[in-house]
Structure formats: C-alpha cells, structure tokens
C-alpha cells in the first residue's frame, strides 16, 4: 500500500511527534528514523494509513455521539501488531523495539496500549 502523502504529514503522526518532543525533548522522530520507519512498514502491512489506523480505534456512542476508544477495536489492532511482528521475523530485542515504537504511536495519540497486549 502506498501512502497518499509523506507519512510525517498525517495528523496522527504530527501528534505523535509532538508528544515525543514534549515527553523527551529534542525531536525523537527525526533523531530516530526507525520509529517512523516502523510505522510506515506497519501501514504497508495493514493497508491503512496512520490516520485511518487511529480512527479505527474509536467509535461513537449511538445515544450521545461521544467518541470513545473501543476495547474491541484496540484488541483488533493489537492482533494486527502481533501478526506484523511475526511477519517481520525479528526476535528478541529487535522485535521488542519494533513493537515499542508502534505502541508509542498509539499511546501518544491517546490509545492506551501496553507491551503485554502484543
């Protein structure tokens, strides 16, 4: 899957970059290209762009229209992340790093995920 625009231009990636800058200082996405490369590879694997991936995690309550993070959707994403890690054929530290980088994208966009899910 080809992204329609440079990955940095997606709103969710900008939010991730901002979150990382605020948390750690500097510009971690620019300084550690492996982070964004991991996300780009996952998008390729999954077939959705970063904003679509993020939007998938949320639903709206029928009665109120209030947006909420869906547990089932989050679990579905976690399953995709597991499949991606398996497909990457990485193991040990490298596999953990890949997973952590992807979780970071979701976490800084407000989706609570942890390594135990993956």
């Amino acid at each position: 899957m080809e992204l329609e625009q440079p990955i940095e231009q997606y709103q969710s990636v900008a939010t991730w970059a901002k979150g990382l800058r605020e948390q750690w200082g500097g510009d971690p996405l620019a300084e550690e290209p492996e982070k964004i490369e991991a996300l780009a590879a996952f998008c390729q694997f999954d077939g959705r762009n970063p904003d679509e991936l993020l939007a998938f995690c949320f639903l709206r309550r029928k009665e109120t229209g209030v947006r909420f993070a869906s547990v089932k959707r989050r679990e579905a994403v976690a399953e995709q992340l597991r499949a991606f890690r398996t497909a990457s054929e990485l193991s040990g530290t490298e596999a953990r790093r890949l997973t952590s980088n992807l979780l970071s994208f979701f976490i800084h966009n407000g989706i609570q995920m942890h390594t135990g899910m993956i």
Partner: protein, 260 residues
C-alpha cells in the same frame, strides 16, 4: 529507616526487576504489619492472598490485568491480592471485642464489659451495621489502613510496591475467593529498577485544601517550621520532577523494551 523517612521515600513503583525474586521473610513481614493494624471493633476485615507472578499461567495473568495496571502486574514478581471479608463480624460474634476487654484494652472506665459486648454491641450495633449498605465502606477504610502498614513495611525492607486494581472474576477463580469477600486492590511487590527517589516526591494538593480546623472551609494553618522539621527528618524529600527523571524513565523503557 526511621519511620518518617519510610513515609518520605515511599513511591508507587512502576518499574520492577521482573526477574529478581522477593524473599519469603520480607513477604511475611508485610503481612505481619497488616495484621497488627488498628481496626474498628478489632474485626480485621482484610484478607490477603500472596501469589508469585511466575506461578500464574500467562493467560490467567493477562486476564487479571486492567489496561492501566497491566505492566505493573506483569513486572512485579509478587502479587498480594487484598480482599475485605464481609463475613467477619458475624463469624466472630464479638469475640475479638471480648478479647480486648480481657487484655485491658477496652475497660470499664470507658463503659466496656463482656456483658456490654454480648448483649448490646454485637447484637444491637455490629449485626445491624454489618447489614447496612455503608458497612463495606467503613470496613474498607480499615483494610486500607492495614494495607498501608504492609506497604510501608515493604518500603522499609528495601522493596518497591504499588497498589493497583485487578480484574476480580479471574482472580476469584484463580484463588478460590469466597463469595462474601470484596476485592480491593493488589499490592504489587518487587525490587525497584527505579532509583531510590524514583523521580522525587509526587505532587499533592495543597495542605490547606485538604485539612480544616473547627469547620470545613477554615484551613488548618500550616506552620512552616514544622515543614522544615519534617524536611530534616526526611519525610519531605525533593519534590518531583527531578532533573534526571525523564532520562531515567527512558533508560528503563529501553532496558525493558517498553514504548517511549
């Protein structure tokens, strides 16, 4: 450590050494401290079940986790699951109050006698109290006090601790929890990977906002001399954030393979 220093250095530890076991004697000390806590009517509602994380099947462990507590439960080598035994009052039927009379803790000077316990306190106060909807709240207050004694003992023993919630249903099944026990929290115990200060003493609401004198809205005045004294005694330590905290967290995240 001195008592006030233990209070001052306690942190909710969220980064444990997952592979370093906790000595059994230290676990026992935690439980012993819980047992001798102050408790209304000497009831002792708190029940605790110690579980080694490594002995929990992974699927069960996963089911015990809540989204925000998962990692703490995953890292802590020992879990102490705390419950409130609502059946306590009726099980002991005032016997523990009679013990307090026998040992001279509750005395005629304050109106206490065996007859008072048997004919008034138990049937007319404790039984109705144990059937009141507010009963678990009152009992939970005492469980919290007992748990805190255990928590501080763990800190004094050089351990890291963190209370978290847990999913009650799988826990009940795993530990054969009786139906009348109310799940409270799990004390996660292990050796901290964080530094002793763990980022510094956490922010708290202003003193005057929390405590009043005489009437609500009339703050209990805070004497800066006392604050200074407590600083000397290490009950107050360096407030968070410490300058190196983010780097410490980042290093821990990388060491443990966690997201940044």
């Amino acid at each position: 450590m001195e008592y006030k220093e233990v209070i001052g250095i306690r942190r909710s530890i969220r980064y444990f050494d997952p592979d370093r076991p906790v000595e059994r004697e230290k676990i026992q000390k935690i439980l012993e401290a819980m047992r001798i806590a102050s408790c209304a009517v000497n009831a002792h509602w708190l029940r605790a079940v110690v579980v080694q994380r490594s002995e929990i099947p992974q699927a069960t462990l996963d089911s015990l986790k809540t989204p925000v507590t998962a990692l703490v439960q995953e890292l802590a080598p020992v879990h102490i699951y705390c419950y409130l035994n609502t059946g306590t009052v009726k099980e002991v039927e005032g016997a523990r109050l009679r013990e307090l009379v026998d040992v001279g803790a509750l005395n005629p000077s304050h109106g206490w006698s065996h007859k008072f316990v048997d004919e008034f306190v138990y049937p007319q106060i404790l039984v109705p109290f144990s059937e009141n909807p507010a009963y678990p709240i009152a009992a939970a207050f005492d469980c919290g006090g007992a748990g805190t004694q255990g928590l501080l003992t763990a800190v004094d023993e050089g351990l890291g601790v963190c209370w978290t919630a847990f999913n009650a249903e799988p826990a009940k099944e795993m530990m054969d929890i009786p139906d009348d026990w109310i799940p409270l929290y799990v004390m996660n115990v292990g050796y901290p990977l964080e530094s002793r200060e763990a980022g510094g003493q956490r922010p708290r609401p202003p003193f005057e906002e929390l405590y009043s004198e005489g009437k609500v809205g009339r703050p209990f005045p805070r004497d800066p001399k006392i604050v200074a004294e407590l600083e000397q005694e290490k009950m107050f330590t360096t407030p968070a954030p410490l300058p190196n905290r983010k780097q410490e967290v980042r290093d821990l995240s990388r060491k443990l393979g966690l997201p940044e």
